[in-house]
Amino acid sequence: MFNKKSLEDIANEEKKWQKLFNEYTLKAPERLKRFSTVSDRPIKNIYTPLDIEDLDYPKEIAFPGIYPFTRGVQPTMYRGRLWTMRMFAGLGSAKDTNERFHLLVNEGQTGLSTAFDMPTLMGYDTDSPRSRGECGKCGVAIDSLKDMEILFDGLPIDKITTSMTINPPASILWAMYIAMAENRGIDRRIIGGTIQNDMLKEFIAQKTFMCPPKPSMRLITDTVEFGTKEVPRWNTISISGYHIREAGSTAVQELAFTLADGIAYVEAALERGLDIDAFAPRLSFFFNSHLDFFEEIAKFRAARRMWSRIMKERFKAKDERSLWLRFHTQTAGCSLTAQQPYNNVIRTSLEALAAVLGGTQSLHTNSLDEVLAIPTEEAATIALRTQQIIAEESGVANTIDPLGGSFFVERLTRDMEEEAFEYIKKIDDMGGMVAAIERNYPQMEIADAAYKYQLQVDSQEKTVVGVNKYVSEEEIPIEILQIDEELEEKQIKWLNEVKENRDNTKVKEVLEKLGEACEGNSNLMPVIIEAVKAYATEQEITDVFRDVFGVYRDPGVY
């Protein structure tokens, strides 16, 4: 991209400049001993064309919508359509959450996203002894199809897409959504959305467990296969790095482990006999947007380029759409502080901006009170406005990939790609991600990175405003959302009503049928849908899974 003579001139000029820089720093030293990203990547004082001297624009960067998609997966990107503003929401009962959904849609969000409570996430009904004290506390309580019907009441699910953050019982919640839609006369071929359904990152980071890795992969492959044939507008996996990052990984680890998980899912689907171009277009991704602005932008660009190369060269995909890394982003929860919570609005803004400059398809912005509780309506609205102001007022969406060509960003993009591929090779050599997980490899990499970062914060090598610098003498408490303590009792009452009013013979029959199907190797989705339509509860179904597939327990390594 640069001619040899210019590069020589620049090299000479840079030598002179570094000499000048050093003269200045002899008189007054640099303000830090070491300049590094939040992931502890060292950053130079300047980047020049020399850092990307052999950059081949058509081959390495290209244009949006053109392989390897560094600048974006679609040709038009935000010139055609802004990213989906999709605020993660869930609290208390299905009715409480339905109200929050309506509020967010009225305030301008363009996609739905569901947060479930711990019992639902872990596959327990509200009346399980394990669920005591947990109902509705970190998301919505869903015990059966009845709750799902209330959750989406009055929402145009034939026109708006819905994401559900759910993992071990993803097949069940998806079945409930499909059943709810069909009961409303909406065909499964029309509904669009995403289920997270990414168990590998559960074992690595988010830790909502149920069954061991191998049967979990079977369940996931069943959903991919079913989606490919029956629910074509649905993204059946959201291959996630968000949680890996929240658990304490570096940006490169987030990138590498996510794509390695993706590789494992592709291999599982191919082993099932599916055609790559039949399912790959519906694989989607989910990344974190953390504090270091440029590191994140480079990460997103590297991710697109890497995945398209993996899909084309490693898996020989032919359809263009199989090469697209489409992703949702959430701003980093772990970067927010309990101290001086209004600072979190600024953190979220910067992180959201990075995601937009990185070309995300969909975005959730955290609320200022997210460290302390489920967001209040006011806090969630400010978070949504953050996206709207970036979109409508800042001008950054006027042109596609505005940072393309920056010496710094292109260099970072390349370096992160190279380092992430090294990690992927390591994991391949171990026998793939499932094998790596069984050896606790990604889990320990993350634990090491998390501990290192904590020590850096405690020693003030890394600054956290309001926590280890610019600390308030006295914190002014803000009002936070409380979940109704009576809800657990009410939810159990409603659950019992569902059990009384359904055809219990039918439920018993279909659960037996499910058990047999689990023992065999037919696709489980049709019988799961049958079960939820008969108002079998979530746990009645997961108990069958646990019974047949076994239970996974945390190895407890640290």
């Binding site: 996430l121 005591r132 904590q454």
Partner: protein
């Protein structure tokens, strides 16, 4: 003569909460500080926590919660320790707690509650100052 005994701590994750970044960091910090550490792993019922604490003969249980179920889980652990005559095991907590819950937890027998942003050295020093090896 009593020989010098190291402080033994059980770091535990009661309930369904899977957020274990902090608990695992604390476990390492305790280990680096010279305590004997047992980490329970995730998804322990209060009964399992107490059984482990007694079996492992620990001096303190550190409970971690970031998913909002602490008002049931933490007092329940204290209650079970009392039932089993093991309430000389000190219980403290760490994680995410609304301000107003902290005095309630302390009233229920949680000795100290550590909230986000607390440096590791502060926690380690608190343990050194407040936890005595049992039976000494």
């Amino acid at each position: 003569m009593n020989k010098e005994r190291r402080i033994r701590v059980l770091v535990a994750k009661p309930g369904l909460d899977g957020h274990d970044r902090g608990a695992r960091i604390i476990a390492r910090a305790y280990r680096d500080a010279g305590f004997e550490v047992v980490y329970s792993g995730l998804h322990q019922t209060p009964e399992e926590v107490v059984q482990a604490a007694i079996q492992e003969d620990v001096d303190m249980i550190g409970l971690s919660s970031l998913a909002g179920a602490h008002m049931y889980l933490f007092p329940r652990v204290v209650e079970l320790l009392k039932e089993k005559n093991a309430d000389d095991i000190l219980v403290c907590g760490g994680g995410i707690f609304p301000e107003e819950d902290i005095p309630k937890l302390k009233n229920a027998g949680i000795k100290e509650v550590f909230t986000p942003g607390t440096p590791l050295t502060e926690i380690v020093n608190w343990v050194k100052e407040n936890v005595k090896p049992r039976g000494l």
